[in-house]
Protein backbone atom coordinates (compact mmCIF):
# COMPACT_ATOMS: atom_id res chain seq x y z
CA UNK A 1 0.00 0.00 0.00
CA UNK A 2 1.48 3.34 -1.05
CA UNK A 3 0.81 6.18 1.35
CA UNK A 4 0.28 9.64 -0.12
CA UNK A 5 0.55 13.03 1.49
CA UNK A 6 -2.95 14.45 2.00
CA UNK A 7 -4.00 16.61 -0.93
CA UNK A 8 -4.75 20.26 -0.30
CA UNK A 9 -8.36 19.55 -1.21
CA UNK A 10 -8.83 17.84 2.17
CA UNK A 11 -8.33 21.14 4.00
CA UNK A 12 -10.75 24.02 4.34
CA UNK A 13 -8.43 26.92 3.85
CA UNK A 14 -10.60 29.62 2.32
CA UNK A 15 -13.53 31.59 3.66
CA UNK A 16 -16.98 31.10 2.20
CA UNK A 17 -17.06 27.30 2.23
CA UNK A 18 -19.99 27.22 4.61
CA UNK A 19 -20.63 24.70 7.33
CA UNK A 20 -18.52 21.55 7.15
CA UNK A 21 -20.68 18.92 5.42
CA UNK A 22 -19.67 16.27 7.96
CA UNK A 23 -20.46 18.41 10.98
CA UNK A 24 -21.12 16.17 13.98
CA UNK A 25 -20.70 12.99 11.94
CA UNK A 26 -17.11 12.27 12.99
CA UNK A 27 -16.01 11.68 16.58
CA UNK A 28 -12.87 11.22 18.60
CA UNK A 29 -13.18 8.41 21.11
CA UNK A 30 -9.86 6.87 22.17
CA UNK A 31 -6.68 8.55 23.39
CA UNK A 32 -3.22 7.02 23.74
CA UNK A 33 -0.01 8.64 24.93
CA UNK A 34 3.50 7.32 25.28
CA UNK A 35 5.69 8.42 28.18
CA UNK A 36 7.77 11.52 27.54
CA UNK A 37 11.53 11.89 27.55
CA UNK A 38 13.85 14.81 27.03
CA UNK A 39 15.96 12.90 24.51
CA UNK A 40 16.20 9.42 23.09
CA UNK A 41 18.38 7.12 25.22
CA UNK A 42 19.22 4.79 22.33
CA UNK A 43 17.07 1.85 23.37
CA UNK A 44 14.68 0.14 20.99
CA UNK A 45 11.82 0.31 23.46
CA UNK A 46 12.09 4.08 23.78
CA UNK A 47 12.49 4.88 20.08
CA UNK A 48 9.90 7.03 18.39
CA UNK A 49 8.68 3.92 16.61
CA UNK A 50 8.14 1.99 19.83
CA UNK A 51 6.51 4.99 21.48
CA UNK A 52 4.19 5.43 18.53
CA UNK A 53 3.14 1.79 18.58
CA UNK A 54 2.45 2.15 22.28
CA UNK A 55 0.34 5.27 21.72
CA UNK A 56 -1.69 3.57 18.99
CA UNK A 57 -2.32 0.49 21.11
CA UNK A 58 -3.40 2.62 24.04
CA UNK A 59 -5.81 4.59 21.87
CA UNK A 60 -7.33 1.39 20.50
CA UNK A 61 -7.68 -0.08 23.97
CA UNK A 62 -9.06 3.17 25.34
CA UNK A 63 -11.75 3.22 22.68
CA UNK A 64 -12.59 -0.38 23.46
CA UNK A 65 -12.33 -1.60 19.90
CA UNK A 66 -10.71 -4.70 18.50
CA UNK A 67 -7.57 -3.83 16.47
CA UNK A 68 -9.10 -5.59 13.49
CA UNK A 69 -11.78 -2.89 13.41
CA UNK A 70 -9.20 -0.22 12.59
CA UNK A 71 -9.39 0.42 8.85
CA UNK A 72 -7.47 3.68 8.52
CA UNK A 73 -4.34 5.46 9.73
CA UNK A 74 -3.37 9.07 9.31
CA UNK A 75 0.08 9.93 10.59
CA UNK A 76 2.86 12.48 10.29
CA UNK A 77 5.97 10.84 8.80
CA UNK A 78 8.34 13.57 9.97
CA UNK A 79 9.22 13.12 13.63
CA UNK A 80 12.03 15.56 14.19
CA UNK A 81 11.88 18.46 16.58
CA UNK A 82 14.90 19.87 14.79
CA UNK A 83 17.18 16.99 15.76
CA UNK A 84 18.54 15.34 12.62
CA UNK A 85 20.40 12.05 12.39
CA UNK A 86 24.00 12.89 11.59
CA UNK A 87 25.07 11.25 8.33
CA UNK A 88 28.36 10.23 9.97
CA UNK A 89 26.66 8.50 12.89
CA UNK A 90 26.20 4.75 12.38
CA UNK A 91 22.60 3.61 12.45
CA UNK A 92 22.09 1.40 15.52
CA UNK A 93 21.30 -1.90 13.85
CA UNK A 94 20.30 -3.52 17.14
CA UNK A 95 17.43 -1.02 17.28
CA UNK A 96 16.62 -1.42 13.59
CA UNK A 97 16.50 -5.19 13.93
CA UNK A 98 14.40 -5.10 17.08
CA UNK A 99 11.52 -4.31 14.74
CA UNK A 100 10.35 -5.37 11.31
CA UNK A 101 12.22 -2.77 9.27
CA UNK A 102 11.18 -0.95 6.15
CA UNK A 103 13.60 -0.06 3.36
CA UNK A 104 14.90 2.91 5.34
CA UNK A 105 16.87 1.90 8.46
CA UNK A 106 16.01 5.17 10.18
CA UNK A 107 12.31 4.35 10.02
CA UNK A 108 11.09 4.19 13.60
CA UNK A 109 14.19 6.06 14.80
CA UNK A 110 14.27 9.37 12.97
CA UNK A 111 11.07 9.16 10.95
CA UNK A 112 7.93 7.08 10.76
CA UNK A 113 6.26 5.54 7.75
CA UNK A 114 2.87 3.88 7.53
CA UNK A 115 4.63 0.86 6.10
CA UNK A 116 6.86 0.53 9.18
CA UNK A 117 3.96 1.01 11.53
CA UNK A 118 1.84 -1.64 9.86
CA UNK A 119 4.75 -4.08 9.77
CA UNK A 120 5.14 -3.69 13.50
CA UNK A 121 1.47 -3.75 14.47
CA UNK A 122 0.40 -7.09 13.03
CA UNK A 123 -2.85 -6.87 14.91
CA UNK A 124 -3.97 -4.18 12.44
CA UNK A 125 -5.27 -6.67 9.90
CA UNK A 126 -7.89 -4.53 8.24
CA UNK A 127 -6.23 -1.23 7.37
CA UNK A 128 -7.27 -0.17 3.87
CA UNK A 129 -6.57 3.56 4.06
CA UNK A 130 -3.33 5.27 5.02
CA UNK A 131 -2.44 8.90 4.52
CA UNK A 132 0.29 11.27 5.59
CA UNK A 133 -0.20 14.73 7.02
CA UNK A 134 2.52 17.35 7.22
CA UNK A 135 4.14 18.70 10.35
CA UNK A 136 2.00 18.12 13.34
CA UNK A 137 -1.05 16.53 14.91
CA UNK A 138 -3.23 19.51 14.00
CA UNK A 139 -2.88 18.61 10.34
CA UNK A 140 -3.32 14.88 10.96
CA UNK A 141 -6.55 15.50 12.86
CA UNK A 142 -7.92 17.61 10.05
CA UNK A 143 -7.05 14.99 7.46
CA UNK A 144 -8.44 12.12 9.53
CA UNK A 145 -11.68 13.97 10.24
CA UNK A 146 -12.11 14.66 6.57
CA UNK A 147 -11.23 11.08 5.65
CA UNK A 148 -13.77 9.59 8.05
CA UNK A 149 -16.38 12.09 6.93
CA UNK A 150 -15.70 11.26 3.29
CA UNK A 151 -16.00 7.54 3.99
CA UNK A 152 -12.35 6.73 3.25
CA UNK A 153 -12.12 5.07 6.66
CA UNK A 154 -14.57 4.42 9.45
CA UNK A 155 -12.29 3.64 12.39
CA UNK A 156 -9.11 5.60 11.99
CA UNK A 157 -5.98 6.02 14.06
CA UNK A 158 -4.47 9.49 14.08
CA UNK A 159 -0.80 9.50 15.09
CA UNK A 160 1.98 11.95 15.75
CA UNK A 161 5.38 10.96 17.13
CA UNK A 162 8.35 13.14 18.00
CA UNK A 163 11.97 12.14 18.37
CA UNK A 164 14.65 14.22 20.00
CA UNK A 165 18.28 13.22 19.82
CA UNK A 166 21.43 14.01 21.74
CA UNK A 167 22.82 17.48 21.25
CA UNK A 168 21.26 20.78 20.32
CA UNK A 169 18.43 20.82 17.85
CA UNK A 170 18.76 22.61 14.55
CA UNK A 171 22.53 22.21 14.75
CA UNK A 172 22.61 19.11 12.54
CA UNK A 173 21.33 17.92 9.21
CA UNK A 174 20.69 20.68 6.72
CA UNK A 175 21.27 23.25 9.45
CA UNK A 176 24.93 22.22 9.55
CA UNK A 177 25.41 22.13 5.79
CA UNK A 178 27.85 24.45 4.08
CA UNK A 179 25.34 25.31 1.39
CA UNK A 180 21.59 25.61 1.72
CA UNK A 181 19.03 26.54 -0.89
CA UNK A 182 17.26 29.84 -1.41
CA UNK A 183 16.59 31.98 1.63
CA UNK A 184 16.84 28.99 3.98
CA UNK A 185 19.84 30.36 5.85
CA UNK A 186 18.10 33.64 6.59
CA UNK A 187 14.97 32.14 8.09
CA UNK A 188 14.72 32.14 11.88
CA UNK A 189 15.87 29.00 13.61
CA UNK A 190 17.16 27.19 10.55
CA UNK A 191 20.92 27.60 10.66
CA UNK A 192 23.71 29.00 12.77
CA UNK A 193 23.76 32.05 10.52
CA UNK A 194 20.12 32.99 10.86
CA UNK A 195 18.27 34.47 13.81
CA UNK A 196 16.89 32.30 16.65
CA UNK A 197 13.72 30.40 15.87
CA UNK A 198 11.59 32.71 17.97
CA UNK A 199 12.88 35.82 16.23
CA UNK A 200 9.92 36.28 13.92
CA UNK A 201 7.40 35.90 16.70
CA UNK A 202 9.45 38.16 18.97
CA UNK A 203 9.44 40.82 16.29
CA UNK A 204 5.67 40.55 15.88
CA UNK A 205 5.25 40.65 19.65
CA UNK A 206 7.40 43.77 19.88
CA UNK A 207 5.28 45.42 17.19
CA UNK A 208 2.17 44.33 19.10
CA UNK A 209 3.43 45.87 22.35
CA UNK A 210 4.26 49.12 20.59
CA UNK A 211 0.94 49.29 18.78
CA UNK A 212 -1.21 48.58 21.82
CA UNK A 213 0.93 49.93 24.65
CA UNK A 214 1.69 46.57 26.27
CA UNK A 215 4.89 45.02 27.61
CA UNK A 216 6.55 41.66 28.03
CA UNK A 217 5.95 41.46 31.79
CA UNK A 218 2.23 41.15 31.06
CA UNK A 219 2.88 37.63 29.76
CA UNK A 220 3.79 36.35 33.24
CA UNK A 221 0.28 35.35 34.42
CA UNK A 222 -0.31 33.44 31.20
CA UNK A 223 3.01 31.63 31.53
CA UNK A 224 2.41 30.78 35.18
CA UNK A 225 -1.10 29.56 34.42
CA UNK A 226 0.06 27.45 31.51
CA UNK A 227 2.77 25.71 33.51
CA UNK A 228 0.33 25.15 36.35
CA UNK A 229 -2.11 23.49 33.93
CA UNK A 230 0.71 21.45 32.45
CA UNK A 231 1.70 20.13 35.84
CA UNK A 232 -1.87 18.83 36.11
CA UNK A 233 -1.38 16.92 32.85
CA UNK A 234 0.07 13.54 33.91
CA UNK A 235 0.97 12.70 30.31
CA UNK A 236 3.22 15.75 30.00
CA UNK A 237 6.98 16.23 30.24
CA UNK A 238 7.11 18.71 33.11
CA UNK A 239 4.63 16.71 35.19
CA UNK A 240 6.58 13.50 34.62
CA UNK A 241 10.13 14.75 34.96
CA UNK A 242 10.46 18.20 36.48
CA UNK A 243 7.39 19.25 38.40
CA UNK A 244 8.39 22.90 38.63
CA UNK A 245 5.99 25.81 38.63
CA UNK A 246 6.96 28.90 36.67
CA UNK A 247 6.43 31.84 39.03
CA UNK A 248 6.60 35.36 37.59
CA UNK A 249 10.00 36.09 39.14
CA UNK A 250 11.57 33.10 37.39
CA UNK A 251 9.89 33.89 34.09
CA UNK A 252 10.72 37.58 34.13
CA UNK A 253 14.35 37.06 35.16
CA UNK A 254 15.10 34.58 32.43
CA UNK A 255 17.60 35.53 29.74
CA UNK A 256 16.60 36.88 26.38
CA UNK A 257 16.79 34.64 23.35
CA UNK A 258 15.53 37.28 20.93
CA UNK A 259 14.38 40.25 22.97
CA UNK A 260 11.50 40.54 23.85
CA UNK A 261 11.32 36.71 23.78
CA UNK A 262 13.07 35.01 26.66
CA UNK A 263 14.02 31.41 27.33
CA UNK A 264 10.58 30.42 28.59
CA UNK A 265 8.80 32.00 25.65
CA UNK A 266 10.32 29.06 23.80
CA UNK A 267 9.24 25.48 24.45
CA UNK A 268 11.38 22.49 25.37
CA UNK A 269 11.94 19.80 22.71
CA UNK A 270 10.99 16.34 23.91
CA UNK A 271 10.22 12.81 22.75
CA UNK A 272 6.58 11.77 22.89
CA UNK A 273 3.91 10.15 20.77
CA UNK A 274 0.14 10.47 20.88
CA UNK A 275 -2.64 8.76 19.02
CA UNK A 276 -6.38 9.20 18.82
CA UNK A 277 -9.05 6.92 17.52
CA UNK A 278 -11.58 8.63 15.26
CA UNK A 279 -14.73 7.03 13.99
CA UNK A 280 -18.17 7.80 12.68
CA UNK A 281 -20.76 9.23 15.03
CA UNK A 282 -22.79 6.03 14.61
CA UNK A 283 -19.95 3.64 15.44
CA UNK A 284 -18.85 5.82 18.33
CA UNK A 285 -22.04 4.99 20.19
CA UNK A 286 -20.81 1.44 20.76
CA UNK A 287 -17.32 2.34 21.94
CA UNK A 288 -15.92 2.58 25.44
CA UNK A 289 -15.58 6.35 25.82
CA UNK A 290 -17.91 9.24 25.34
CA UNK A 291 -17.69 10.49 21.73
CA UNK A 292 -16.35 13.97 21.17
CA UNK A 293 -17.88 15.20 17.95
CA UNK A 294 -16.04 17.27 15.41
CA UNK A 295 -18.14 20.19 14.33
CA UNK A 296 -15.71 21.54 11.79
CA UNK A 297 -12.16 22.19 10.76
CA UNK A 298 -10.36 25.05 9.11
CA UNK A 299 -6.89 25.74 7.83
CA UNK A 300 -4.71 28.79 7.47
CA UNK A 301 -2.34 29.21 4.55
CA UNK A 302 -1.14 32.76 4.97
CA UNK A 303 1.57 34.12 2.71
CA UNK A 304 3.93 36.74 4.08
CA UNK A 305 5.42 39.23 1.69
CA UNK A 306 8.88 38.68 3.17
CA UNK A 307 10.81 36.20 5.30
CA UNK A 308 9.27 37.31 8.58
CA UNK A 309 5.55 38.10 8.63
CA UNK A 310 4.57 41.51 9.93
CA UNK A 311 2.11 42.12 12.76
CA UNK A 312 -0.43 43.34 10.22
CA UNK A 313 -0.13 40.14 8.22
CA UNK A 314 -0.42 37.99 11.34
CA UNK A 315 -3.47 39.85 12.54
CA UNK A 316 -5.19 39.67 9.16
CA UNK A 317 -4.49 35.95 8.84
CA UNK A 318 -5.65 35.02 12.33
CA UNK A 319 -8.79 37.13 11.86
CA UNK A 320 -9.51 35.11 8.74
CA UNK A 321 -8.75 31.86 10.54
CA UNK A 322 -11.21 32.76 13.27
CA UNK A 323 -13.91 33.42 10.72
CA UNK A 324 -13.19 30.13 8.93
CA UNK A 325 -13.31 28.16 12.16
CA UNK A 326 -16.73 29.53 13.13
CA UNK A 327 -18.09 29.22 9.62
CA UNK A 328 -17.00 25.61 9.36
CA UNK A 329 -18.47 24.62 12.73
CA UNK A 330 -21.59 26.74 12.42
CA UNK A 331 -20.97 28.41 15.76
CA UNK A 332 -20.09 31.85 17.09
CA UNK A 333 -17.46 32.97 19.64
CA UNK A 334 -20.11 32.87 22.37
CA UNK A 335 -20.43 29.12 21.92
CA UNK A 336 -16.86 28.35 22.99
CA UNK A 337 -16.52 26.86 26.46
CA UNK A 338 -12.76 27.27 26.30
CA UNK A 339 -9.88 27.54 23.86
CA UNK A 340 -6.72 25.51 23.33
CA UNK A 341 -4.95 27.36 20.55
CA UNK A 342 -1.26 26.74 20.03
CA UNK A 343 1.43 28.37 22.16
CA UNK A 344 4.84 27.34 20.97
CA UNK A 345 6.02 30.18 20.77
CA UNK A 346 4.20 31.55 23.77
CA UNK A 347 4.09 35.05 22.33
CA UNK A 348 1.74 34.22 19.48
CA UNK A 349 -1.02 32.68 21.56
CA UNK A 350 -2.64 36.10 21.81
CA UNK A 351 -2.74 36.44 18.03
CA UNK A 352 -4.74 33.22 17.83
CA UNK A 353 -7.24 34.02 20.57
CA UNK A 354 -7.77 37.60 19.49
CA UNK A 355 -8.46 36.25 16.00
CA UNK A 356 -11.06 33.99 17.58
CA UNK A 357 -12.59 36.97 19.42
CA UNK A 358 -12.51 34.67 22.44
CA UNK A 359 -14.76 36.08 25.17
CA UNK A 360 -15.36 39.15 23.05
CA UNK A 361 -11.70 39.99 22.81
CA UNK A 362 -10.61 42.59 20.27
CA UNK A 363 -7.13 43.29 18.92
CA UNK A 364 -4.80 44.43 21.67
CA UNK A 365 -6.91 42.98 24.49
CA UNK A 366 -5.23 39.65 25.23
CA UNK A 367 -2.45 40.76 27.56
CA UNK A 368 -4.96 42.68 29.67
CA UNK A 369 -7.14 39.57 29.63
CA UNK A 370 -4.17 37.59 30.99
CA UNK A 371 -4.25 39.80 34.09
CA UNK A 372 -7.77 38.51 34.93
CA UNK A 373 -8.79 35.03 36.10
CA UNK A 374 -7.79 32.76 33.21
CA UNK A 375 -7.54 29.64 35.37
CA UNK A 376 -9.35 26.38 34.84
CA UNK A 377 -11.53 27.26 37.83
CA UNK A 378 -12.66 30.56 36.35
CA UNK A 379 -15.25 31.55 33.75
CA UNK A 380 -12.65 32.33 31.07
CA UNK A 381 -10.14 29.50 30.89
CA UNK A 382 -7.16 30.21 28.67
CA UNK A 383 -5.25 27.20 27.37
CA UNK A 384 -6.41 24.69 29.99
CA UNK A 385 -4.07 22.11 28.46
CA UNK A 386 -1.11 24.27 29.40
CA UNK A 387 0.09 23.69 25.85
CA UNK A 388 3.74 23.33 25.01
CA UNK A 389 4.62 25.71 27.84
CA UNK A 390 3.02 23.34 30.30
CA UNK A 391 4.05 19.97 28.93
CA UNK A 392 6.81 20.30 26.33
CA UNK A 393 6.92 20.58 22.56
CA UNK A 394 4.47 18.11 21.09
CA UNK A 395 1.80 20.33 19.61
CA UNK A 396 -0.80 17.77 20.72
CA UNK A 397 -1.57 18.57 24.36
CA UNK A 398 -4.21 21.07 23.23
CA UNK A 399 -6.10 18.40 21.30
CA UNK A 400 -5.90 15.75 24.01
CA UNK A 401 -7.11 18.30 26.52
CA UNK A 402 -10.15 19.26 24.42
CA UNK A 403 -11.12 15.60 24.09
CA UNK A 404 -10.49 14.80 27.75
CA UNK A 405 -12.30 17.90 29.04
CA UNK A 406 -15.41 17.15 26.99
CA UNK A 407 -15.28 13.47 27.91
CA UNK A 408 -15.01 14.42 31.58
CA UNK A 409 -11.61 12.74 31.84
CA UNK A 410 -9.31 15.71 32.44
CA UNK A 411 -8.87 14.83 36.12
CA UNK A 412 -7.34 17.58 38.25
CA UNK A 413 -7.10 19.75 35.14
CA UNK A 414 -10.85 19.73 34.54
CA UNK A 415 -12.36 23.13 33.86
CA UNK A 416 -14.83 23.89 36.62
CA UNK A 417 -15.81 27.49 35.90
CA UNK A 418 -17.51 26.54 32.65
CA UNK A 419 -19.30 23.46 31.40
CA UNK A 420 -17.01 21.85 28.79
CA UNK A 421 -19.25 21.60 25.75
CA UNK A 422 -17.51 23.18 22.76
CA UNK A 423 -13.81 23.83 22.38
CA UNK A 424 -11.31 24.73 19.71
CA UNK A 425 -7.71 23.64 19.28
CA UNK A 426 -5.06 23.90 16.63
CA UNK A 427 -1.99 25.50 15.25
CA UNK A 428 0.86 25.83 14.85
CA UNK A 429 1.70 29.20 13.37
CA UNK A 430 -0.55 32.24 13.09
CA UNK A 431 0.29 32.34 9.38
CA UNK A 432 -0.29 28.63 8.79
CA UNK A 433 -2.03 25.85 10.64
CA UNK A 434 -5.00 23.59 11.05
CA UNK A 435 -7.79 23.95 13.57
CA UNK A 436 -10.60 21.75 14.89
CA UNK A 437 -13.82 22.43 16.78
CA UNK A 438 -14.83 19.76 19.28
CA UNK A 439 -18.24 19.26 20.85
CA UNK A 440 -20.03 17.20 23.48
CA UNK A 441 -22.98 16.82 21.14
CA UNK A 442 -23.24 16.40 17.37
CA UNK A 443 -25.51 19.41 16.97
Amino acid sequence: MTTQMAPESMYRSTEGLGVWPHRGKVAAVGIGHSPTARRWDGRAETSVGAQSIMACRKAIEDAGVDPSQVDGIVLVPVTTTGAHWDADTPVPMDVVNAFNPSDDPLDGIGQLSAEWLLKNMPELTNVKFTMYAPGCMSAAITVAAQAVGDGLASTCLVLKGWHNLEGRYNHGGISAANEVPGSFALSPGRTLWGAPGCYGTALQFAQYCTKYGKHHDMMAPFMENSRRNGLLFPEGYWAQHRPEQLPPEDYLNSRWIAKPANLFDNDIPIMASAAYLFTTAEKAQDMAQKPVYILGHASSRGLARSIVPTLEEVEAETDSTGRKIYESAGISPDDLSFENMYDGFAQFHQFHIEGLRYRGMQRGDALDFYQTDISIEGPNPVLPSGGNIGSGRSRFWMHTDCIQQIQGRAGARAVTGVKPEIAVSGGPMPMGGNFTVWSATPN
Binding site: E166, P247, N253, R255, W256
Partner: protein
Protein backbone atom coordinates in the same frame (compact mmCIF):
# COMPACT_ATOMS: atom_id res chain seq x y z
CA UNK B 1 42.70 31.20 49.78
CA UNK B 2 39.02 31.70 49.08
CA UNK B 3 37.81 29.89 45.96
CA UNK B 4 34.38 30.32 44.45
CA UNK B 5 32.93 27.68 42.14
CA UNK B 6 29.87 28.25 39.99
CA UNK B 7 28.31 25.03 38.73
CA UNK B 8 26.25 24.75 35.60
CA UNK B 9 23.69 21.93 36.03
CA UNK B 10 22.60 20.27 32.79
CA UNK B 11 25.51 18.39 31.25
CA UNK B 12 27.69 19.23 34.26
CA UNK B 13 26.21 17.72 37.43
CA UNK B 14 25.13 14.11 37.71
CA UNK B 15 21.57 15.26 38.31
CA UNK B 16 21.54 17.35 35.14
CA UNK B 17 19.75 16.63 31.90
CA UNK B 18 21.82 15.22 30.34
CA UNK B 19 23.78 14.00 33.36
CA UNK B 20 27.29 15.34 33.77
CA UNK B 21 30.39 13.87 35.41
CA UNK B 22 30.35 15.86 38.65
CA UNK B 23 28.58 14.06 41.47
CA UNK B 24 26.67 15.72 44.26
CA UNK B 25 29.12 14.11 46.66
CA UNK B 26 31.94 16.01 44.93
CA UNK B 27 30.00 19.21 45.42
CA UNK B 28 29.51 18.34 49.06
CA UNK B 29 33.25 17.81 49.46
CA UNK B 30 34.17 21.29 48.24
CA UNK B 31 31.34 22.73 50.31
CA UNK B 32 32.81 21.06 53.40
CA UNK B 33 36.24 22.37 52.49
CA UNK B 34 34.91 25.90 52.72
CA UNK B 35 34.66 26.81 49.04
CA UNK B 36 32.03 29.34 48.09
CA UNK B 37 29.69 27.41 45.83
CA UNK B 38 26.46 27.78 43.91
CA UNK B 39 24.76 27.18 40.61
CA UNK B 40 24.45 29.25 37.47
CA UNK B 41 22.04 27.63 35.08
CA UNK B 42 19.21 28.17 32.63
CA UNK B 43 17.07 26.36 35.17
CA UNK B 44 15.05 28.93 37.10
CA UNK B 45 16.57 29.93 40.45
CA UNK B 46 13.61 28.42 42.30
CA UNK B 47 14.29 25.11 40.58
CA UNK B 48 17.99 25.36 41.41
CA UNK B 49 17.19 25.99 45.07
CA UNK B 50 14.86 22.98 45.13
CA UNK B 51 17.60 20.81 43.69
CA UNK B 52 20.13 21.81 46.34
CA UNK B 53 17.58 21.41 49.11
CA UNK B 54 16.75 17.93 47.86
CA UNK B 55 20.39 16.95 48.33
CA UNK B 56 20.72 18.90 51.56
CA UNK B 57 23.60 20.96 50.23
CA UNK B 58 23.83 24.54 51.44
CA UNK B 59 24.90 26.88 48.63
CA UNK B 60 25.87 30.52 48.55
CA UNK B 61 24.08 31.51 45.36
CA UNK B 62 21.64 30.35 42.68
CA UNK B 63 21.48 32.53 39.61
CA UNK B 64 20.22 32.50 36.06
CA UNK B 65 22.87 31.93 33.42
CA UNK B 66 23.05 35.50 32.24
CA UNK B 67 23.59 36.81 35.76
CA UNK B 68 27.00 35.29 36.41
CA UNK B 69 28.46 38.77 36.71
CA UNK B 70 26.33 39.31 39.81
CA UNK B 71 28.13 36.43 41.48
CA UNK B 72 31.50 38.02 40.84
CA UNK B 73 30.39 41.31 42.30
CA UNK B 74 28.54 39.73 45.19
CA UNK B 75 31.29 37.58 46.66
CA UNK B 76 34.87 38.31 47.67
CA UNK B 77 37.17 35.50 46.62
CA UNK B 78 40.73 34.96 45.44
CA UNK B 79 39.72 32.83 42.49
CA UNK B 80 36.48 32.43 40.58
CA UNK B 81 35.67 29.33 38.53
CA UNK B 82 32.68 28.45 36.42
CA UNK B 83 32.21 24.83 35.35
CA UNK B 84 29.94 24.11 32.40
CA UNK B 85 29.47 22.19 29.18
CA UNK B 86 28.56 24.82 26.61
CA UNK B 87 31.00 26.91 24.58
CA UNK B 88 28.76 29.94 24.29
CA UNK B 89 26.69 29.97 27.44
CA UNK B 90 29.37 28.65 29.78
CA UNK B 91 32.93 29.15 28.53
CA UNK B 92 32.50 32.46 26.74
CA UNK B 93 30.14 33.73 29.42
CA UNK B 94 32.57 32.81 32.17
CA UNK B 95 35.60 34.38 30.52
CA UNK B 96 33.66 37.51 29.68
CA UNK B 97 32.74 37.92 33.33
CA UNK B 98 36.21 37.40 34.75
CA UNK B 99 35.88 33.75 35.76
CA UNK B 100 38.29 30.97 35.01
CA UNK B 101 36.52 28.24 33.12
CA UNK B 102 36.63 24.45 33.39
CA UNK B 103 34.88 21.83 31.31
CA UNK B 104 33.19 19.24 33.56
CA UNK B 105 35.78 16.53 32.81
CA UNK B 106 38.62 18.94 33.53
CA UNK B 107 37.00 19.98 36.76
CA UNK B 108 36.43 16.40 37.90
CA UNK B 109 40.20 15.86 37.84
CA UNK B 110 40.87 18.72 40.23
CA UNK B 111 42.14 17.76 43.69
CA UNK B 112 39.45 19.99 45.19
CA UNK B 113 37.00 17.16 44.78
CA UNK B 114 39.20 14.63 46.57
CA UNK B 115 38.08 14.43 50.19
CA UNK B 116 41.60 13.45 51.29
CA UNK B 117 43.47 16.08 49.31
Amino acid sequence: MAILISFDIDGTLEVGDPPGPLTMEMVRIVRDKGFLIGSCSDRPPSSQRSMWEEFDISVDFTVAKHLLADVKSGFEADAYYHIGDREDLDRQNALRNGFDFLWPDEAAAKPWFDAEA
